[in-house]
């Protein structure tokens, strides 16, 4: 199984809502990532988890709250989002990057989020 599964595929939420994005992989990867992608732009890194611990936070606003409950699951909790947070949210996983960082990322298909 070389898939990263993201749910839901589409999400519309109001600025006062609380919602969660989910990501799952069963490849035994111990590194998991959240990226945000605006239309016609490259993915921007948000968070990196390594061995279920948050290792990198790219100064993401606290209205985005990541969680890694176990080695297969990654969540992104959303609260009080703004319309400018509308984007494609991509989850990825990889083997942990050793000294040389030679590991490719496996991406899910993303959640298209619209904040009204």
């Amino acid at each position: 199984d070389t898939e990263v599964t993201q749910t839901p595929k589409h999400l519309v939420m109001g600025m006062t809502n609380k919602k969660s994005l989910k990501c799952e992989q069963h490849m035994g990867h111990r590194a998991m990532y959240w990226y945000k992608q605006k239309a016609k732009k490259p993915p921007e890194l948000m968070f990196v988890y390594s061995y279920e611990k948050l290792s990198i936070n790219e100064s993401v606003p606290s209205r985005f709250s990541p969680e890694c409950p176990n080695s297969s699951l990654l969540n992104l909790h959303l609260h009080a989002l703004q319309p400018e947070d509308s984007a494609l949210y991509l989850c990825a996983s990889s083997h942990t990057k050793g000294r040389t960082g030679d590991e490719k990322l496996f991406f899910g298909s993303g959640t298209q989020l619209s904040v009204l």
Partner: protein, 113 residues
């Protein structure tokens, strides 16, 4: 700031022609990767080239790396309509928390049948 910047931003060619995309980066790297993204979907890894390699092939793909110029190119030979997608180069930047993969601006390729 982005590690990789690409040109052209968009490229339109006829089926059967070759497509060349270029990527430049700013800092020293251990490797450089190329990914493909179909519209609104996730990215798919195409090829990785290490800093001590100059050229690598995979099927119709040819990647070159020039570390002295901090640049790489991706060549797709005999393009097909199904190659229509966005192509991103990516490099790994070392952070206090480990490596983070940073993507270039991307090239949108249109292959006309």
């Amino acid at each position: 700031s982005q590690q990789g910047e690409e040109d052209p931003q968009a490229l339109s060619i006829q089926e059967g022609e070759n497509a060349t995309m270029n990527c430049s980066y700013k800092t020293s790297i251990n490797n450089l990767q190329w990914y493909r993204q179909n519209s609104g979907r996730g990215l798919v890894h195409l090829i990785l080239i290490r800093s001590n390699e100059r050229e690598k092939h995979s099927g119709r793909l040819r990647v070159t790396l020039d570390t002295s110029k901090k640049s790489s190119s991706l060549l797709i030979t005999a393009s097909r309509a199904a190659d229509t997608a966005s192509y991103f180069c990516a490099t790994d930047a070392r952070d206090t928390g480990g490596f983070k993969t940073i993507f270039g601006a991307g090239t949108r390729l249109f292959v006309k049948a």
